[in-house]
Amino acid sequence: MKLNAFTWIIVTVAVTAWVFILPLQAVATILVLQLVLLLYIKRSKTMMAAIGGLGVFTGMMILLQLLFGSPLNVALFGGLRMLVMTLAFLCMLATTRIQSIAKALVDRFHLPVEYAFMLTAALRFVPNFLEDSTVTLDAQSCRGYSNRGNALKRLLSYVVVIRPLVMRAVAKSETLALSMELRGFGANTYKNMPKEKFTAIDVAVLALVVVLSTYPFWKRLLGT
């Protein structure tokens, strides 16, 4: 079963709304469904690390809320909401190609192509940026950079790594812009990409989204 990128975007946006309108049990059910889906798609170390990281972050959010005097149930529900919202994005990214998401954003939501392209460009250049940071760190270490000392000292000394790294990134972005110009980047970029099919499953999922998103209305109508 493969959903269209457009459907995934709608579902993701809807989930972020549902966490505020649906009751606690429903939100908890969504969380379970998300975890099952993510583990079904990819039971890798990276996926476990991503889920674990989000779990830790949620825990910190809950702690912060408790520290600021929120009641336990409010803090827990707040953390749950945040976790479900972020997992919704993780589900979308794990199941859909970023290029399809960008295309859907341009075609269906009329996002300017430049912004949509930023999604793919960001993903494309993350590994390069990490590689550059290692090279720059090594080069500066050879010239005497050291990350010893207290936090402030380490932060200040890190400037010698950040500065060349940023310069390299800027130079690369200029080349990228030139390359895109040479290759005719513009309105046609996403228009001519192969179209993804919109199946009956997409229609069914979108119908379910409509039903769940109008939950307060149904609740009032049915008098429960």
């Binding site: 970023i98 290029q99 793919t120 460009a121 993903l123 494309r124 590994p127 390069n128 130079a171 690369k172 972005s173 080349t175 990228l176 030139l178 390359s179 895109m180 110009e181 040479l182 290759r183 005719g184 980047f185 513009g186 046609n188 970029t189 001519n192 990409m193 192969p194």
Partner: protein
């Protein structure tokens, strides 16, 4: 002569810089393999950018003169439209790759220029085959080695079938085997499609078997241009440009001057050894 590129009295300066190119007059013949040599900062890359319309229409700057590609002036043309006729591979090929997979990378230009998806797919498959990356459409870029990524950048140029391909130091990051194999590939493409190649290269040894023409640039000016046979002697006389010639040609000119004999323009050490043996230069001469 049937020039595909002609540059006439071209002068150029970037914003807030001195003249980078001065009185450039050159013609590139259809189907030729031209190598541009020159010291660092001589203006080789700027010349390549002028041929592809990037200079001055993308970078800005002041210019005089005219550049014609396939008989049409580059004035007022969009860089992307010119790229259909003259493709450019920049020295920093890594940053030139914009997509996540090899197939998308090659198809990027095609889709941007309005090719239908089916044709784009077919051209992508063909271009990847041509550069020795068959069936790699779904490979992520980080699954490819540096040399393969360089070939991929070339494939994305080849897919749109430009008549002229300009390459700025295409083997700068390659080992000798990789460099030789890339130029072998370019030679094959030239034979197969009749593509005109213009290459900026410091390690001319790699291009020896394929190059037909040579342009030497010094201080923003053309110091020599023509077929290799025509210009080698003139370039050799310039002590600053001499070390940029391949070792074999430096030896050839040195021998010609010291012995008064004429030699062929050697394309390989084997060829040199054979001619030297034939002319009686000692029994011990070997390639």
């Amino acid at each position: 002569m049937n020039p595909v590129v002609s540059v006439t009295e071209f002068y150029f300066k970037y914003l807030r810089s001195g003249l980078v190119l001065k009185n450039i007059n050159l013609e590139i013949e259809k189907g030729s393999f031209t190598v541009i040599i020159g010291p660092s900062g001589a203006g080789k890359t700027t010349l390549c950018k002028a041929i592809t319309g990037i200079v001055p229409y993308y970078t800005g700057g002041d210019y005089a003169g005219d550049v014609k590609v396939l008989g049409e002036t580059t004035k007022g043309k969009k860089v992307s439209d010119l790229a259909m006729k003259v493709g450019l591979m920049l020295e920093d090929y890594e940053s030139q790759l914009v997509s996540l997979t090899a197939g998308e990378e090659v198809a990027f230009s095609l889709l941007n220029h309005g090719f239908p998806p089916d044709e784009a797919e077919e051209r992508t498959r063909r271009a990847l085959e041509d550069v020795g990356l068959p069936g790699r459409e779904n490979y992520q870029l980080d699954e490819l080695s540096g040399g393969q990524r360089q070939r991929l950048a070339l494939a994305s140029l080849l897919a749109v079938h430009p008549e002229v391909i300009v390459l700025d130091e295409p083997v700068s990051a390659m080992d000798p085997d990789g460099g030789e194999s890339l130029y072998k590939l370019l030679g094959k493409i030239r034979e197969e499609y009749g593509t005109t190649f213009i290459v900026v290269e410091h390690r001319v040894e790699f291009v020896l078997p394929y190059m037909t023409n040579l342009i030497a640039v010094k201080n923003g000016e053309i110091a020599g241009q023509g077929t290799c046979e025509e210009v080698v002697s003139r370039i050799y006389e310039d002590t600053e440009l001499r070390p940029l010639l391949p070792d074999l040609w430096q030896i050839k000119r040195g021998l010609e001057i010291s012995t008064g004999q004429r030699f062929r323009l050697w394309r390989s050490t084997e060829e040199a050894a054979e001619e030297l043996r034939m002319k009686g230069f000692g029994k011990g001469v070997r390639a």
